[in-house]
């Protein structure tokens, strides 16, 4: 090793930070792979993946302060919500749609995150609707003179939605403390990025909203951290939003119901796998002397045990009670009961 500081220290990450990043990435990958196994075994009906996007999410997550900064994640942000405090057990409870699932109590499909206590806004399936929500959260922060920022993530396909444009424009006008985090994984289901946008980068769009757009290698957690950290600091200083585009690659089909062989070649996917983020992080940590084969094997064994325990727990956990179907349409003591309207 040369006398220069390792790259992660240069951007303000400690050795512990960068090891913790790797652990969260590995945990996300292991949970994700487990969900596919459970799906193929007929145990859970649906999976939507984060594979290939772990570094981007780890970089973004570590640049935020989960105690005060809010996130409005999208359905691939498994690694991000693990950094925000969810456990393998929490997400497996969601995959099995069990009552204890902290995201929705088994109401939503997997990947539809939300947890108020952990500053994770509840999300939905129509893409991009969460983008103005993050702007509204940032507006509240500004109105109250707080230092908290919000980060909203979405795919490159979603950057075509009107809500992206409307929200970015609104945030630009009011210089709101929000980070638009585009995880460009090259595909909106089957449609490649060249059929989604005519400009080279999603980040190029930021210019029209009056704030910076930054492209970053989304397979490199340390690089993403540096860029998002700068965006967070800019937002905290009251200088307004940043659009960060992390270039990644979706390593698996869109979801458990998709077959990507019909629209992309195996060679292309194999090539992308050579730059995949977990291996890159492991290799970086090894190069700076923080990781070796023994340590890596121990970490992987620890995570596997966690995921095994989580799977068993979630599988056995109780489903929601059918009597809860009608709950939470309105606040308790609200105006409708039994699915039929009545007066107060």
């Amino acid at each position: 090793m040369s006398s220069e500081l390792p790259r992660h220290r240069e951007v303000g990450l400690t050795d512990e930070d960068v090891l913790a990043m790797y652990e969260k990435m590995l945990l996300a990958r292991t949970v994700d792979e487990r969900m596919w196994v459970l799906n193929r075994a007929g145990k859970i009906p649906f999976v939507i993946s984060c594979q290939g996007q772990e570094a981007a999410q780890a970089g973004a997550g570590f640049a935020l302060d989960p105690a005060m900064d809010l996130i409005a994640p999208y359905y691939r942000d498994l690694c991000l919500v693990l950094i925000y405090g969810h456990s393998a057990r929490d997400e497996l409870l969601s995959a099995f749609a069990k009552a204890e699932d902290p995201n929705s109590g088994g109401r939503q499909m997997p990947g539809h995150f939300g947890d108020r206590q952990r500053n994770i806004l509840t999300g939905s399936s129509p893409v991009g609707t969460q983008i103005p929500h993050a702007v509204g959260m940032a507006l509240a922060s500004k109105m109250r003179g707080e230092k908290s920022v919000s980060l909203v993530s979405f795919g490159e396909g979603t950057s075509n939605q009107g809500d992206f444009h409307e929200a970015a424009n609104f945030a630009g006008i009011h210089k709101l403390p929000v980070i638009f985090f585009c995880e460009n994984n090259q595909y909106a289901i089957s449609i490649p990025v060249k059929k989604q946008i005519a400009c080279e980068n999603v980040a190029d769009r930021a210019a029209s909203y009056g704030f910076p757009g930054v492209v970053v290698d989304g397979m490199d957690a340390v690089e993403v951290y540096a860029v998002v950290k700068a965006a967070v600091e800019r937002a905290r200083r009251g200088e307004g939003p940043t659009l960060v585009e992390a270039k990644t690659y979706r390593l698996v089909p869109h979801s458990s119901d998709d077959d990507d062989r019909s629209y992309r070649s195996r060679e292309e996917v194999a090539e992308a796998r050579r730059g995949e983020p977990i291996e890159r992080m492991r290799s970086y940590l090894t190069s700076v002397g923080l990781m070796d084969e023994t340590k890596d094997a121990e970490l992987r064994a620890k995570i596997l045990a966690q995921v095994n325990e989580a799977t068993e727990y979630a599988d056995k956990a109780a489903p929601p009670d059918v009597s809860t179907l009608m709950k939470h349409v309105f606040a308790e003591g609200g105006t409708e009961t039994n699915g039929r309207s009545t007066i107060h």
């Binding site: 809010l70 409005a72 902290p102 995201n103 929705s104 109590g105 109401r107 939503q108 539809h112 939300g114 947890d115 108020r116 206590q117 806004l121 509840t122 939905s124 399936s125 129509p126 609707t129 983008i131 103005p132 929500h133 993050a134 702007v135 509204g136 959260m137 940032a138 507006l139 509240a140 922060s141 109105m143 919000s150 009107g162 809500d163 409307e166 929200a167 424009n169 609104f170 006008i173 709950k327 939470h328 349409v329 309105f330 606040a331 609200g334 105006t335 409708e336 699915g339 039929r340 309207s341 009545t342 007066i343 107060h344």
Partner: protein, 327 residues
Amino acid sequence: MAVRQFIEAIHDALAEEMKRDDRVFVLGEDVGVRGGVFRVTAGLIEQFGEERVLDTPLAESAIVGVSIGAAARGLRPVAEIQFADFIMPAVNQILSEAARMRYRSNGDWSCPIVIRAPFGGGVHGALYHSQSVETLFTHFPGLKVVVPSSPADAKGLLVSAIRDPDPVLFFEHKRLYRLIKEEIPEGEYSVPIGSAKVRREGDDVTVIAYGLAVQFALEAAAKLSEEGISTHVLDLRTLRPLDEHAIWESARKTGKVLVVHEDNKVCGVGAEVSATIAEHCLFDLDAPIQRLCGPEVPAMPFSSVLEKEYMLSADKIANAIRTLARY
């Protein structure tokens, strides 16, 4: 007691709630410096500043979406959609997001926002400044839909809407803004959401209506009393949740029901009102339920002649009541 126009009553509710609770703020197109295109928010920016009376870019989905985010952080946004006709770009935010944030998060998150929008015709607004859009929202569990017909109710219901822990759509018939004034109670008061009100007691025919149609129905009822026909008028005030008990009671009172709304008939509020009467008090009826509604055309035309043909009036309602009274 102060005499206030419908529009002034709405303004007063906003001003008083903003004064009472610093979490309340208004946002929308032209609501600030201009004071709203109808002047509902006139003077608020001077009183509360531009942060709490926020002129937004012309983008309805952002107006609602940003409100949802601000509400998630504990604020109480009151969004104005300039004309109900222009709410369409925000419908995804209202139906997919606001209406189900509480349900989908298993009660963890909520969405206490109010969306105000002027609706309705009779003001030469043609196809895109006259529509009734309420039934787009009454079908969806998770939303409350309020349509006041008088200044006192407009104020009291808007106060309730702002204090409500869930999303409320508040539709203001724009023809009412300066058409009617009345004495409104002194001091702070509210009118509960989900409660209908008998506007006139009568024995021969029951008219169930909301919004401007209530005023026409009362005019018709006054005229018909001179002919010896006694009309009972129920103002729904809230379209979701419907006050079913009040509907049944009013239907039983006369046994003859006429449902009136400016919105077109098919799948309108009248269909739900008729269904609940049929389900619960069919054998109390002395005549088939009648509906007098807007015609089945996309919207009302600009031509005064065609607009008048489309619109309800006291005369049209009086004729329908007479026919039913004779049944």
